[in-house]
């Protein structure tokens, strides 16, 4: 799963019948691990009820299809949780190269001493 921020919603009238009635959100990834898609945005199905501006956890791949109860949905990203806060400890944050890129920190980021 990855961390992302909801930056918008996507509407459509002509779409795959399995997507009828599903809410689609535009998500800006804050973290990323898939080497083969190096992208700056993601469209995810929302069964949880996230709103624009919130940080979310996005599930990718096959498990995202099961979120809608059926493998036949043409979906590969689905919102799994709405983030309240992200917490790290000072010692962990001094390790090299784990910080989020500039402007890509979660809104609810907390650092606390060990």
């Amino acid at each position: 799963m990855i961390l992302g921020r909801v930056i918008g919603q996507v509407w459509a009238t002509r779409k795959n019948p399995y997507l009828q009635g599903k809410k689609l959100l535009l998500v800006l990834p804050l973290t990323w691990y898939e080497p083969d898609h190096d992208c700056d945005h993601l469209v995810a199905v929302d069964p949880v009820g996230a709103e624009v501006g919130q940080d979310v956890v996005v599930c990718l791949g096959l498990p995202a299809r099961w979120a809608l109860g059926d493998l036949r949905h043409p979906v590969e990203a689905s919102i799994a949780a709405i983030v309240d806060r992200v917490e790290t400890y000072e010692q962990a944050s001094r390790r090299p190269r784990f910080r989020f890129a500039a402007g890509r920190e979660p809104a609810t980021w907390i650092e606390r001493p060990e």
């Binding site: 799963m1 990855i2 961390l3 973290t31 990323w32 691990y33 080497p35 069964p47 949880v48 009820g49 956890v57 599930c59 990718l60 791949g61 096959l62 498990p63 995202a64 099961w66 979120a67 109860g69 689905s78 799994a80 949780a81 709405i82 983030v83 309240d84 806060r85 992200v86 917490e87 790290t88 400890y89 010692q91 962990a92 944050s93 390790r95 090299p96 190269r97 784990f98 989020f100």
Partner: protein, 96 residues
């Protein structure tokens, strides 16, 4: 599966149904050298069934196999990355 270091926790109250009972960890994936602990810059949110703590070195399983860490054989769980092992030691030789 990949090695990584736990760098933080993610707190959420509204979650998909089967994720309710466990915490989610932020794991930074590391490179091939176990001594230098170089980070690849990739960070993943992983389900934690083992109570790993911040600073622990762990192995993360990806894809649909990660759901077996939540409940073996389950299909309706929204998890694509899970901590499956907390590393105690590793090296070029065989274990003890």
């Amino acid at each position: 599966m990949n090695r990584g270091v736990v760098i933080g926790e993610v707190w959420a109250t509204r979650k998909a149904p089967r994720l309710l009972d466990r915490k989610l960890l932020l794991v930074a994936l590391t490179g091939a050298d176990p001594v230098a602990e170089r980070f690849t810059g990739r960070v993943v949110v992983a389900y934690d069934g083992l109570d790993a703590g911040i600073g622990d070195r762990v192995i993360v399983a990806f894809g649909s196999g990660a759901r077996n860490a939540v409940a073996p054989g389950s299909r309706d769980v929204l998890v694509d990355a899970a901590v499956v092992q907390v590393i105690e030691g590793e090296g070029p030789r065989n274990g003890p």
